[in-house]
Symmetry: C2
Subunit: 141 residues, 2 copies
């Protein structure tokens, strides 16, 4: 039965490795973070510290929410604030050795899941696109 493949394939085999993942640093000003997000085209990316350990994630929604004042978007706030003030640290993580089935569970509520090693170093991200491609592949085999 093809479904067994979801338990046999590991997260490490399908994740986008860290060197190909756009990210922001925990000390960046929000203006720089928003620029990275707009130029990369991604709605949200991982946030790392100086030693490339995973801190959390940051998205355009959270940044824009911060600057939404009563009458208009207060864009000047972007240069006053830093990523560490609003980074979302309440996120699920997986290890490279986890099964794709564990990945499927986590991706039900998140467009991507960060992959870290036992010391918290950032290894990569598992995306919904990667898992949907595998599901489609299993279907036709």
């Amino acid at each position: 039965i093809q479904d067994e493949k979801l338990t046999a394939i590991t997260v490490g085999e399908l994740m986008i490795p860290s060197e190909k993942v756009a990210h922001v640093q925990v000390n960046n000003p929000l203006e720089h973070a928003l620029l990275v997000l707009v130029k990369s085209g991604y709605s949200a990316v991982p946030v790392l510290d100086a030693s490339y350990k995973l801190v959390g994630t940051l998205g355009k929604t959270i940044i824009l929410n911060q600057i939404l004042g009563l009458e208009r978007f207060e864009f000047e706030k972007l240069s006053d604030m830093r990523v560490h003030e609003i980074v979302n640290t309440d996120i699920p993580c997986l290890s490279k050795e986890a099964s794709l089935l564990d990945g499927l569970h986590a991706l039900i509520n998140y467009p991507f899941i960060c992959v870290t090693d036992s010391d918290g170093y950032f290894d990569g991200i598992l995306t919904r696109r990667a898992i949907l491609k595998q599901v489609r592949k299993n279907f036709y085999t």
Copy 2:
């Protein structure tokens, strides 16, 4: 074999119906569109015309790209421009009767797919989350 369910279930059964889908109107100024996106929390939503026919989609990335000037984000442009000037009309669509397998194909490259009837009226959206939940359900049955 559980995989057959992907061909037996229709898009109409799993889509989020139009009345529950946040959207913007084709004539809205970009400032209003960005407000809808930030308040709803969605990165992108469908764009409809006054008769509720589907025109395309619009996301934060496209809006922010428009106002990214050489030195800073030119937020004043948001009140000068309208949704119809930048709406993305090059998007796949499905009918309610299409199979979930057709949905899976389309969702490989898009976080959500718009569902329309034969006259182009907007029926709802099929999301990656809905298909991933169905895949997980099939796995355990």
